[in-house]
Symmetry: C2
């Protein structure tokens, strides 16, 4: 039994893997693999339509919001968002809460003015800077809802009067939010809604068409909306896995059901962390991520030993990100509570032995 | 038994599907699915490195040529190529041999001057216009080696003194070519080297870094070369399937072995086509594609009946592209000769019955 705490690509529900594995040999009794079917066939159109409908239903989207599945990951969106929405010479507001936000800022500067309205860089991004003022003429405010590397998370939607754009790559569909408040949401699918190779986007169509630059067809969100995510050959298999994962989320009680389990996992982990003097959380308690827990030990020798124990107990992906060190445990949607129970027991036992 | 003549996404070797299906549940005895492993792990780095090595070996690339696996399909490259290589105010030469070439031309015009040096539009792209003059100051010449929709193919490399760029989406690794003559080759993988969701690129690194525009990081080929296709989370599973398919090509005798089979299939099909008065090829004989055969019947009622017969005989994907009509049969690498044998027998029987 393996416990997969990988930060991404990461754990998927086992029933999704089983169905995908079967579909690789015979999809829907077509006698063909899901990898061998044309994208402009009723059988794949059914997959795509179901994926889109499930996102709309699970996120309770209104009719202004369109759902897209596009090639690539969030790194593509760092460029595509300002290309579509930031007029040259105008200003966009960005919040710098970590490595991914910084990358988004770097790309946006190629297209217009960027004002960094809040930053947590002064403390190594170990907290969320929630106090800020957005210039009234900013075209939008961009932020990262969950910081995979640093282990922080926004627990409410920032208050602002300008259109809101969020990179939700690492916590999309992990909790209830008023998703209709966003002009644009994007997420690489490989953490909570599928595999690497596809972006899930939610776009308020009224936000589009306002920049004067000429957009390459493949970069223009409007082309993709007009063509229902079939402007070109889409990443068929990645969309199929997302569809299966979305079905699973619905079966688990939708976003409410998933959020309850995610809260349970986070509560179990962080209460254990706080009870063991050997381990130390790195981020402000109120900003702790329910998706990615980042923690260390004061003694580097013990860190090495703890990783060995994790390996022996089949706890995968516990090593921290190379830029932070220490440990990181990711608790995405598909991670069962039982895996967190094993992790906290291993931590407790280690604490008893060395504490 | 199903015979898959789909134009793309299309048939894959059955052993590739079997291995991929197994890896979806337990990849390399890791206890994890290939969909759940981190991309920065030795186990995935091994997959990517092997895929890159196999491309270099199969295409006999010299040390100036780099191999990349990038998100998206050829439609992304229509924009990314001129963004990287066409300086504003300068000229690139393009050959317009069909729908995909036209799309590439449209996107290139956003970045600089485009001179269409040859076009087969006068005859509905039913032949290859091989006579042309490239302006001496053109930064490159772009063409499509095989036209999936129209069923034509370049059977030799165009002669030119300027750097050569090719969209090889539908015939890459299907035949021997001097691949080192190209400054850049790109191909959506979903026809001959894998599944939708990844581009295979071969880039002469000396061709890069010559435009003055600021490139978004994710669009800059140099960023991807510097990071070995791991600038961001790559499409892990799509690269894995490409690696398996490349292994299979090598096992089949490499490009030489594959080309022999592809020639056999094309010869068998076209000789049958020419022997049956009921059917009619649409393109100039000397420019016929060995990957996609486009053909019609004069009588639309019979066309419908022929499609019914194909359906009954489990011949999939024979219906022509919506812009051309009639029939199309695709003979990509993974299609066995035996499937073409079944198709030509069905055509002969139909000819006997209705001819």
């Amino acid at each position: 039994m393996v416990h997969n705490f990988n930060a991404g690509p990461s754990i998927l529900p086992y029933e999704v893997l089983q169905q995908a594995s079967e579909a690789l040999l015979n999809f829907n009794n077509t006698g063909l693999s899901i990898l061998e079917i044309g994208h402009r066939t009723p059988v794949f159109e059914g997959v795509l339509n179901e994926a889109v409908s499930l996102v709309k239903e699970l996120m309770q989207l209104d009719s202004e919001h369109e759902v897209l599945f596009l090639h690539g990951g969030a790194s593509t969106q760092f460029m595509q968002v300002p290309m579509n929405l930031l007029e040259e010479g105008k200003t966009a507001a960005y919040i710098d809460n970590g490595i991914w936000g910084s990358k988004a800022i770097k790309e946006a500067r190629l297209f217009g003015n960027v004002e960094v309205v809040a930053s947590s860089k002064d403390k190594n991004h170990t907290y969320i800077q929630k106090e800020f003022t957005v210039p009234a003429d900013a075209l939008y405010l961009h932020y990262t809802t969950n910081n995979t590397v640093e282990g922080t998370q926004w627990h409410s939607i920032p208050e602002t009067n300008v259109p809101l754009i969020a990179d939700m790559s690492s916590d999309i569909l992990s909790r209830q939010l008023d998703f209709n408040r966003f002009s644009l949401i994007y997420a690489g699918a490989q953490k909570n809604v599928g595999i690497a190779g596809v972006n899930l986007l939610v776009v308020n169509k009224n936000a589009l068409g306002k920049v004067s630059r000429k957009l390459p067809t493949i970069m223009d969100y409007r082309s993709h909306i007009d063509n229902g995510s079939m402007l070109n050959t889409p990443p068929v298999f990645a969309i199929y896995v997302s569809m299966l994962t979305l079905r699973w989320i619905k079966k688990m009680g939708g976003v409410t059901g998933i959020e309850k389990l995610n809260n349970e996992k986070a509560e179990l982990f962080y209460s254990t962390l706080d009870s063991l003097p050997l381990f130390k959380g790195l981020v402000a308690k109120e900003d702790r991520s329910k998706m990615n827990a980042v923690f260390i030990m004061e003694n580097p020798d013990l860190e090495k030993q703890f990783l060995d124990v994790c390996k022996r107990e089949n706890l995968y992906g516990i090593k921290g990100h190379r830029s932070v060190g220490g440990f990181r445990a990711s608790f995405y949607n598909a991670l069962p509570v039982s895996s967190v129970q094993v992790l906290v027991q291993v931590m407790k036992d280690f604490g008893t032995q060395f504490g």
